[in-house]
Symmetry: C2
Subunit: 751 residues, 2 copies
């Protein structure tokens, strides 16, 4: 399909061996001589006024080197992705707004001393009434949580076109449902943690996982009042992010303690702190209604949704925007009326989580489509094909511009072809069913103004020996992006993958590349690295053209050589770069990719899930999961398959197992013991990732984003398979055996 050498090849990850061999260092492995250990004192109340704080006893404990409170902070003491509404430390006299809000932190010679010191801090609270659902939060008389916000509404979004009343009037069938979608935990293997150091010039460096080092730098600058040129954020190895590391976690507190003690300070969260503190997938309540004509043609979609933002805004504005705007999906629906709101509560924070509002929206729409298909006695694939967007249609999502024939039909056909026949039940009392889930997922290119995501830098340095180093501000959070960037540089320079290193996510050494979120970085940084190579490549070819007495246009880089096409003349790249080095030719290529025609790219995908439902136990076994995704051009098919299969595992969790429950602001599933994620035995018995390639004109080699998309379609494919197997319309997730048994019982009672 391609003429590339390394791009498009299923190469192993450049950091794979380090990772599987356990050689790589994560935050818990970090150490510095003379390092202190830190712990954080957190509010036990979901809503209370911090009345008093006495740290004297803790300060007097031998081995304690510093106790910090809000009084130590010279900056705004606020951080937040979309609004600076979250305190680094809650000041005395102000309010804690969630269980876990930090009020003090201790740095001590050992973690045990730091923990003991926490017990010696006297914090007095005046408890206040809390609010624990967004519906309550927006009701009149609800406690007003943020003084500087007009009310508890974080954001609302409304969009529409046509006239939905007319649309439903034209419909021959209308289905409606209210979907209750749970809070989902990212449950990355590596908890939040890291190390802050201060050098003799007062430069603070925070070594810790994140999804955007530049945001960490900026947040520390604003919250603590250190100028940005004196703050560095280095995010080398991060054991999973999935949106949960897009915000500030331990970074600011570690920096504050390092600044106060002038020593290195390590601060690693416990799993309980991680679960409690980082933003998770928003719980959503979606009421949605879809109408269609007898032939299946959709006439109208109406939806209203509300999401629980938790105590601080984090990504709540854009997540509700994403859920609303992507709700109409890959279909041509003439009449639309969609609105959504998010609200502050005294619950744990909601924020970015793989899929970012889309899984909730897709679950609602794709469930309705299957119900409608059943009512109209149309095949689920047929009804989707019938309504699929075509070139010239105006998508319901205002951010998407259809610039080439949509590939939804292709992904539906390929997914079904790969899925083969639905297997019969394995025994009595069991039923099998097949479900489809389709979507038009997006990948953000320049995205919203609020997120400072426009523009992506990269540099590629070619060394005199002809090897190369890619510098990219993107963090390697496990997505395999460093491998993809190495492939791009190797491809463009004609090198082997092992001749290229990648230095990632480090404000000291790498150009800003924006966050690794929104499935954007293979596209954005892939393009930036390609441009950076082009910059240095042009200079190398100019020198090579002199050496080889050949026109630059006839030269190519391949197999470690600079070759003249046609006459067979060639010289090793390392010989040319040695000449460059000696004669003062700049071997550092730089680029700034500032996006393309659209703020967001889009693509199409289809999931087919086959399940078997045990009607006696309510247990659902996922037999097969096929994800067919139009990736434009797979830069690394192995990695693409990994993303699709990983997303399928998330889908299994979201559909069947995962629910981060809270009551009065307190997590009822505070550790991995209570919070159930699918294990390897819970996954589909057969996974298939089908790569569909329809090159994207502005993508690097035609690539589109892929990272998160499988989380959009896989959960609802499972729900639809349950529906097809049993007729049960699951509207509250996860579809646990208890819930399913109850639904099956109700169904039997109805019959």
């Amino acid at each position: 399909m391609t003429n590339y050498t390394i791009v498009g090849q299923p190469v192993r990850r450049v950091d794979g061996f380090e990772k599987v061999s356990g050689r790589i260092h994560y935050c818990v492995d970090m150490a510095e001589p003379g390092m202190l250990c830190a712990r954080t004192l957190r509010s036990p109340h979901p809503h209370a006024r911090l009345a008093a704080l006495d740290t004297r006893q803790a300060e007097a404990l031998p081995g304690v080197e510093a106790v910090v409170t809000a009084a130590d902070i010279r900056g705004t003491n606020r951080h937040g992705i979309e609004r600076p509404d979250q305190p680094v430390l809650v000041p005395v006299g102000e309010r804690v707004k969630m269980i876990g809000d930090p009020v003090a932190a201790v740095a001590a010679r050992t973690e045990e001393i730091a923990e003991e010191a926490l017990g010696l801090i006297r914090a007095e609270y005046e408890p206040l009434p809390g609010v624990f659902t967004p519906q309550d939060a927006l009701a009149p008389g609800a406690p007003h949580l943020h003084d500087d916000a007009p009310g508890n509404l974080i954001s609302q979004y409304t969009s529409g076109r046509g006239d939905v009343a007319q649309g439903f009037a034209e419909a021959d069938a209308v289905v409606e449902g209210t979907f209750v979608l749970p809070r989902q935990e990212q449950a990355y293997l590596e908890v939040e943690g890291g190390l802050a150091t201060i050098d003799s010039a007062g430069v603070i460096t925070v070594y810790a996982g994140s999804q955007r080092p530049v945001f960490i730098r900026k947040s520390i600058h604003l919250a603590l009042g250190f100028p940005e040129h004196k703050v560095r954020s280095i995010s080398a190895n991060t054991g999973g992010g999935f949106g949960g590391k897009a915000d500030v976690s331990m970074h600011a507190l570690a920096a504050l303690l390092a600044h106060k003690t002038r020593k290195p300070v390590k601060l690693v969260w416990t799993r309980e702190e991680s679960f409690l503190m980082h933003p998770k997938r928003h719980p959503f309540w979606i009421r949605a209604k879809l109408g269609a004509k007898r032939d299946g043609t959709f006439t109208a979609l109406e939806a209203e949704m509300i999401s629980d933002g938790g105590a601080y805004a984090s990504h709540s504005l854009i997540v509700v925007f994403a859920a609303c705007s992507y709700l109409p999906g890959p279909y041509d629906i003439p009449h639309l009326q969609i609105s959504g709101r998010s609200a502050y509560t005294n619950n744990p924070i909601s924020g970015a989580c793989r899929g970012y509002g889309q899984p909730q929206a897709v679950t609602a729409l794709e469930s309705l489509i299957d119900w409608l298909a059943r009512d109209l006695e149309i095949d689920p694939a047929e009804i989707r094909l019938k309504n699929a967007l075509e070139l010239g249609d105006a998508p319901g999502c205002p951010r998407v511009v259809l610039d080439s024939p949509p590939t939804l039909p292709l992904t539906i056909r390929e997914a079904l072809a790969a899925a083969g026949e639905l297997p019969p039940p394995s025994g009595p009392g069991k039923k099998t069913g097949r479900g489809l889930g389709c979507a038009m997922p997006i990948f953000d290119i320049s995205t919203h103004d609020t997120a400072d995501m426009k523009g992506v830098g990269a540099s590629v340095e070619v060394f005199p020996d002809g090897t190369a180093l890619v510098r990219s501000g993107v963090c390697e959070i496990g997505s395999g992006l460093s491998t993809v960037l190495a492939q791009v540089a190797a491809e463009e320079l004609g090198l082997r993958l092992g001749q290229v290193s990648v230095l990632c996510g480090n404000t000291e050494s790498t150009p800003d590349a924006g966050p690794i979120v929104a499935s954007r970085q293979a596209y954005c940084s892939g393009n930036a690295v390609r441009l950076a190579v082009a910059d240095v490549r042009a200079r190398i070819l100019e020198v090579a053209s002199d050496i080889l007495h050949a026109d630059e246009g006839t030269l190519e880089l391949a197999g470690g050589m600079v070759r003249v096409r046609g006459n067979g003349h060639a010289i090793p790249l390392g010989e040319v770069t040695k000449v460059c080095h000696r004669t003062g030719v700049n071997l550092l290529g730089s680029a700034w990719f500032s996006g393309s025609h659209a703020p967001a790219g889009h693509t199409f995908m289809t999931t087919v899930a086959d399940v078997e439902v045990d009607e006696e136990t309510g247990r659902v076994r996922v037999l097969k999961m096929v994800n067919a995704h139009d990736v434009g051009q797979a830069l690394n098919p192995l990695n693409v398959k990994g993303q699709l299969i990983g997303a399928a595992a998330w889908g299994v969790g979201y559909a069947l197992y995962e629910e981060m429950r809270a009551s009065d602001g307190k997590l009822l599933t505070p550790t991995l013991t209570e919070y159930i994620t699918p294990m390897s035995l819970d996954g589909p018995e057969e996974w298939q990732a089908v790569i569909v390639e329809d090159p994207y004109p502005t993508g690097p080699y035609g690539a589109k984003g892929v990272g998160e998309h499988g989380t959009n379609t896989t959960p609802v494919a499972i729900l639809n398979a349950i529906f097809h197997a049993t007729g049960v319309r699951v509207t509250e997730m996860p579809a646990t055996p208890e819930r399913l048994l109850r639904a099956l019982k109700q169904q039997r009672q109805r019959v």
Copy 2:
């Protein structure tokens, strides 16, 4: 004199407080958890065959983690600035060529264990006859030291013009002398040392002082066979270099041990190792002859010189070239014949040392001029003014192009004016005298091909808060360059100095800027940083022009604001950069300065030294030292004065105290106890640095180089002052009391 705000101001060094307060970390302070300590086994023989090496007992010593020999090395096992002739470790069967040549190294849990292990390594040598003067080395039948060199000659250089025989025939007076110039030690406060680490991807990082991290990277790559993309060299704080840290020192061995142990390895040399192993100022023997007409007009200069390169070439090629080519100095001499040679011996290595061949040449020429002036009864200043180069003259140095009226006369007049009257002797038996030393020192811009010094990169990142970070590959070795680069960036961005940080000398984070040698970096990196700011400044002004509704040409950056000239409208820079950050405007400015019209810049300077000689003790007291230097434009007058006064102290040492003596290849002055450098009480009682400013068209703000130049003229000014006080022609340096007493006695006997 200037319209600049920060450039030209005598600002304190940006790293001054850290340094004087002892907060800064040098190599001995470095530590990493689990770090090993290393020691090196060195040859006790100046020339011998390494017959056998048995490391088994050392390896068995508890606490020893690795012993390395040449057998562990997969690369060329060679390094060297100009020729790769120096082994990282001498292999069994091959020859050690100097005392101190390394044959093995140990990494152990403590330095004491490593030292003990050295004693357990059995190294057997077959001693060979050595050669200890360059004259002997070039004599027929001398032991041939380097198998892959045709003989012991490292290099020779010859230049001439006109006909010296005719020139001397036209002369009314001719003087001749043979000057014996000693080996001089840089004696920096910080010895060589540092730390090598290896990460899980196999990337080796060496944290250690150097004068060019890129050269260290390249040397490790070649010598050890690691690809360049897997080697990083970080040279943060270096306590003095003066040329002595331009070569590889402990870097390769530390890298080898880290690679073998996969642990951090610290290797710090003792003062004895430092004295023994790093290249020092070349001993020179210069026979020179100068003729002039009765009116003082020079007619001919003839010289022949030979220098002792020691066991390995290091910088010997270019140092002898520099000494020869700069010998004719700032004078118009029609007939020239100059030749020079350097040779291998079994002595410690000679290499780069502040002045780089010029102090030796200047000492010879400027001595002859004063002798000639005395013979012709012409004032020493007058004879220099009479012969000073004028615009249109062809300098004797082929690398210098006179592109503006030479400023030698100006520096002579300003130096003499500043010096005032020569004081009378302080008592009986004492005599006072005044000496002049003049030179046309150079600063290398793109310099010789062999040194890979063409092209200088820099980047300047402006942060959303309006502060900035300069990234430069130059090492801060104590010259104050980081302050100068911060000044340039602050000047161009209209910031305060404290709003700019500088990250230096680090192949991980900074663009290559070539070595900090040859007084080149204020010029080269000053220009590169200025260009890097211009790159980002243009984008910032474009955005500001939109915000302020003003033409970009009317905007200026000053006082932290972007101002419209004329109408008083202004906006803080930080507001504009926040808009840039949000809208995706690249805030990283990059530049590559690839030199200017000439390979070397030149300037002029004059030293006036007043001394008092005690004829009874032979002791010389330097009463006053005035250095008048045309610096083009002083970027930081305080720093320029520091350089001139520092160089004056070197001159005192070179003229009166310092001599690194060796006998049969063994240092007779192996530590700071035996090797005498001037202390603060030995310096001139009055120092004056006179800044002459004749802007250099291509220099940043007109700046010229200045770093080393005072070492050229200050020694001979002292010798000439002794001559004027006593009539003694010092031809062997240093002019110790013993030598001076002997000369005074011979003089009395002649009278």
